[in-house]
Symmetry: C2
Subunit: 197 residues, 2 copies
DNA sequence: ACTGCTATATGATTTAGATCATAAAACCAG
DNA sequence: CTGGTTTTATGATCTAAATCATATAGCAGT
């Protein structure tokens, strides 16, 4: 379930750090020195434009790693990492991370898998943001999120309208109105304001 | 320079195929059975919305591979592959590709590098498309394209305004007007209608 | 139960870029 | 050199979603 088992990370010298809600872990355009894996909580990768508008490039929960592409691809962070809620994060120095990979071929392969799936997500969202109206964007995102769940019964979308807006390139008001309209037309179901699929 | 040397591909049983301009190599939502690498020409990965609007997710030239994420990530093609001009493509069956990877650790690592850089590109474009006006989007794309060139002197952007539009989620007219305005304001230079940076 | 904060809701107005329409260059194959 | 196709150009109009402005509902902590 975890990208790398925490015991193994510890063996290679990982430390656990705490992060408060809204705290930054690293900033866009800085150099990457560590491998990070969420132990508890949620971290978002996010960009801000000049007037503070936010775009969320990814949400990462317990077991998931994030911010590795700059390690593999040798470029500065293309976005900021921010805690969405109080978090615990495993932090492993870059060199140790590569040593761990060399010693564990299966994990190395797992990263290929993981990166490919992130490309899938980004390509999907990119196609949506570039050419589809709000309703389509939201439905595509919601369906993707559900499809990613191991358990395939009722799934409650765990994001606020603001977060959905920031993931689809829309404004809150638009997301609120669109969700309300879709509910009235019976296209989606809500349970205490959260979308349930 | 090439993702995988063509001799090595041949050793593992690759075949070379020809593709005419505008011909499809594979279609969105179909299953991936082959590894592909451009030998000559240019291939684009592209999506179309209901009214034919195009969004280009990537352009691939000689030496570059494309369409591997579905092989690594076990999901159907998230976009179509179309020849931008007459092409020659190396085509290697999936199983042979994985055998080749196992036998060549360095190439396996190279894919990590490549996938990471594609994530960088997609994340960049996504942030642009979601929050920035035409001028910013075009400049960011152009600067990225230049930065990717090994040779760092004068670089001529090799795309039409239509293609730039399809890469930035804008309409042709908007790209034409924006480029013209930027040239008049001295923000970019043109040489026989092509942007030169 | 009250306070403060965050999330959802909804109307009115504005605007950037899409769309529509048409034309002139530029390029290319025969 | 020529006729056809593609690319660039430019004006006029339209529209979906952003923006602005408030309001209400929900919830977390004291």
């Amino acid at each position: 379930m975890s990208m790398i088992p925490e015991e193994l990370l510890t063996t290679f010298g990982a430390r656990k750090i705490k992060l408060n809600k809204d705290e930054f872990l690293f900033a866009k355009d800085t150099e990457a020195h560590f491998y990070y894996q969420v132990s508890m909580g949620t971290v978002k990768m996010v960009n801000y434009n000049y007037d503070g508008q936010e775009f969320i490039l990814g949400m990462f929960k317990a077991g998931q790693s994030f911010g590795e592409p700059p390690l593999f691809g040798h470029f500065p962070y293309p976005a900021n990492a921010v805690a969405v809620e109080d978090c615990e994060i495993c932090k492993l120095p870059k060199d140790n991370f590569f040593r761990l990979l060399e010693a564990n071929f299966d994990i190395h392969r797992k990263f290929n898998y993981e990166l490919s799936n992130r490309l899938r997500y980004k390509g999907m969202i990119l196609s949506e943001v570039s050419s589809y109206p709000p309703e389509h964007r939201i439905l595509t995102l919601v369906n993707y999120l559900k499809a990613m769940m191991p358990n395939q019964d009722l799934f409650t979308v765990p994001y606020t309208r603001q977060q959905l807006a920031d993931m689809t390139g829309l404004r809150v008001e638009t997301v609120i109105r669109t969700i309300k309209k879709m509910e009235q037309e019976g296209k989606i179901k809500l349970k205490s304001h959260k979308i349930v699929v």
